[in-house]
Amino acid sequence: MSSMTNHQLLNPQDHGHLRLLPRAGAEPHFAQIVPREFVAAAIACPILFSKDPATGAFYAGAMLGLKPGEGALKNIEERGGFEPLSLQRDGFFISGERIAIDRANPRFSETDGELLFDDAQPSTSLRRVQQVLGQLHEGLEQTAVLVRDLMNLKLLEPIDVSLNFDDGERLRLEGLYTVSRDSLRELEDEHVLRLFRSGHLQLAYTIAGSINQLAILAHLRNRKLAEI
């Protein structure tokens, strides 16, 4: 993969002829997601928290695969159409009040794909990206509020995942956190009510319940190992 990037502020003068292709290349095994995506994510993959290595801050992610570098174990269709916003926006960034693009991203082409601008106005596909970026931006703030709430009630706990595969490999997943079901059960009534009203109780149970998807992913991985 090339590490060359070329960031440019998006504008119809410079990018009037630029076209957008669908995202290409393997999906990461762990992709950042925001609270509005939790329900859709949880039917297909485990939702876990991890820490930003630069700041130590928690962020939520969907586990699409089990091993770094191996990519996703289910395709989008098998995930019921779930594609994390953070992948949908591939190549686009928020820069202050404006949108920037990484011109070096292979999604951008002069010849193929859908135009980003129609007569200097954002095209349908660009408007979709704008919406995705907006939802992500808002979602990051919602995640921070959720994390603070979960931390204050001591609901986040580290989870050590150790998986054995049929080829003899033992995989240890480190640096992951989930919502503790035990701590949820022990919550005092006033906190339960507050969490329920804020919508965080449902998110907490969605995260806790999604852990079951780990076993399904492990099973899938074993099956793929057998196919090779």
Binding site: P53, A54, G56, M151
Partner: protein
């Protein structure tokens, strides 16, 4: 009717007083304030000595149990990480002479004693580097964890260097706001005794009379309750540990990006040693010496030479050291914690760890009533006297192992009559078998574990006879442990941030509680 112990009164608001208050109040939190109270009486006029900026890893457990945030410790106490100590020029006095006493145990310490294997191998690698990665981490100036490691958790074992002058107020705030400790600012005018000789109350200048069931003397060198009031004598040990004076200077960093050592540097001099402790804000440097062996002027010259041009004209503080401890620590309804209990040169940062251990013992064994207090007191005295003895032995070991011949100070330190008998026996034993997990150190909470003795002994060139059969029998596991050590060195060196960078990130972003 039994006389219940419900009111603990701590006198003195330094590190010892507030740590004791925090440890006792946290342990009895569920009883406060209904059936138990912790009151700390502090003079508004007495300056805090603020000894010991070095701590022991036990402080992580202690602070976590008290419930303070590690992030706030870094933000408010100018804390830095400490991963052990580098002892320079202690063995031969030559320029490159030095060894680490790290805080990590040797690899697989509970399973295998690597000392004989390392001795048999004799491949030029230092004992520390052969068995643990921490020396290399310190060489590189790396932190013992990352910003993604939870509060109080470690990738490499650590304790702290901190500004003791900020640590006591930091604890005070937490104790008063979160743990329900009552803080009384008042000077003690008189101490009233009951007919049976117990302390009944304190008569104060500003807050009237304060009664208590158990009094904790944290009044520092003054030892107001245990010494002045109850007359428990002081046992001097300057015949074993000669240093009696310290000169301290605070040295600013050259720039605010200068690297900070993540270990204490202790450099031997002609009649003592110099500590060098890096905080984010400054270095604390001090010379601990024996005034029987060097004049104060010469000692100051050695200290200023050590600091170099950066230390020119910086103000210096002189601190007398009286090495020794109380004959007993708990008498009647009064127990001494901190400097009132005793003091030893800060060679292995034993002051704060001893405060923690004493306060923990008081908190855990808190006598329910006066009738059983003497039983608990006897236990406490027994354990605490043992601990002081072991610290004195361990400090003396650093001196007893020296090969230096360049001054009377070092030669005198090797005289058998200055070495405690127990230590002499151990040094004889260690010539034939090395200290390990379970052989010598039988107390559950030793101040210094057998691993510490290993690091000092073999760091200072001590030789233990090696039995070839023993080495051969476990050669494979020893090889594996040393290989694992090399792998761990690479992994940690690749993943750990620079010490100052991590402190900056902690102050900026904070560490997560999990």
């Amino acid at each position: 009717m039994v006389q219940a112990v419900k009111r603990v009164v701590i006198v003195g608001g330094g590190t010892a007083g507030w740590l004791a208050a925090g440890i006792i109040a946290a342990k009895h939190r569920s009883r406060i304030p209904a059936s138990f109270s912790v009151t700390l009486v502090e003079s508004p006029n007495t300056p805090i000595i603020g000894v010991g900026e070095g701590t022991w890893p036990t402080l992580r457990t202690t602070l976590s149990r008290i419930g303070v945030s590690e992030t706030e410790l870094f933000r408010q106490c100018d804390a830095a990480f400490k991963q052990g100590a580098w002892f320079a020029r202690w063995t031969t006095g030559e320029k490159h002479d030095g060894y680490y006493h790290p805080l990590m145990l040797p690899q697989n310490f509970s399973q295998i004693n690597l000392v004989p294997h390392w001795l048999a191998k004799n491949d030029g690698r230092s004992f520390c580097d052969a068995v643990c990665p921490q020396g290399r981490i310190c060489d590189d100036g790396l932190a013992p964890k990352t910003i993604a490691t939870a509060e109080y958790e470690a990738l490499a074992n650590y304790s702290y260097h901190l500004d003791a002058g900020k640590f006591a107020p930091f604890l005070q705030k937490h104790c008063c706001e979160k743990l329900g400790v009552r803080h009384v600012l008042a000077d003690v005018r008189r101490v009233h005794l009951s007919e049976n000789g117990d302390i009944r109350s304190l008569e104060t200048e500003q807050a009237g009379e304060i009664e208590g069931d158990l009094f904790v003397d944290c009044t520092g060198f003054k030892a107001l309750l245990i010494g002045e009031t109850l007359g428990v004598p002081f046992v001097d040990c300057s015949d074993v540990l000669f240093c009696d004076t310290a000169l301290a200077i605070q040295v600013p960093h050259a720039t605010d990006t200068s690297p900070i050592a993540s270990h204490t540097i202790s450099t031997a001099q002609s009649a003592g040693w110099i500590w060098d402790i890096g905080l984010p804000t400054r270095r604390g440097v001090g010379h601990v010496f024996s005034s029987r062996h060097i004049s104060v002027d010469d000692a100051e010259r050695e200290l200023r030479d050590y600091i170099g041009p950066a230390g020119k004209d910086l103000p210096m503080r002189r601190i007398p050291i009286r090495s020794g401890h109380r004959q007993i620590f708990w008498k009647r309804n009064c127990v001494a914690v901190g400097l009132s209990a005793g003091f030893l040169e800060p060679l292995e940062s034993s002051a704060i760890v001893l405060i923690e251990m004493s306060a923990k013992l008081i908190a855990e064994q808190m006598p329910v009533c006066r009738e059983v207090m003497d039983v608990i007191a006897a236990r406490f005295n027994n354990t605490t006297e043992y601990r002081w003895g072991r610290i004195i032995d361990f400090l003396k070991l650093h001196y007893a192992l020296t090969q230096r011949d360049d001054s009377a100070f070092w030669r005198d330190n090797r005289l058998p009559e200055t070495i405690p008998e127990r230590l002499q026996h151990l040094m004889l034993l260690w010539r034939y078998q090395s200290p390990w997990y379970h052989d010598e150190f039988d107390r559950i909470e030793e101040v210094f574990p057998a691993a510490s003795y290993q690091y000092v002994l073999y760091g200072m060139g001590f030789r233990t006879e090696v039995e070839p059969d023993i080495v051969a029998g476990a050669a494979n596991s020893a090889e594996r442990a040393m290989r694992e050590n090399l792998a761990q060195i690479d992994k940690l060196r690749a993943g750990l941030p620079r010490h100052r960078d991590l402190i900056r990130k902690i102050v900026q972003h904070g560490l997560q509680p999990v």
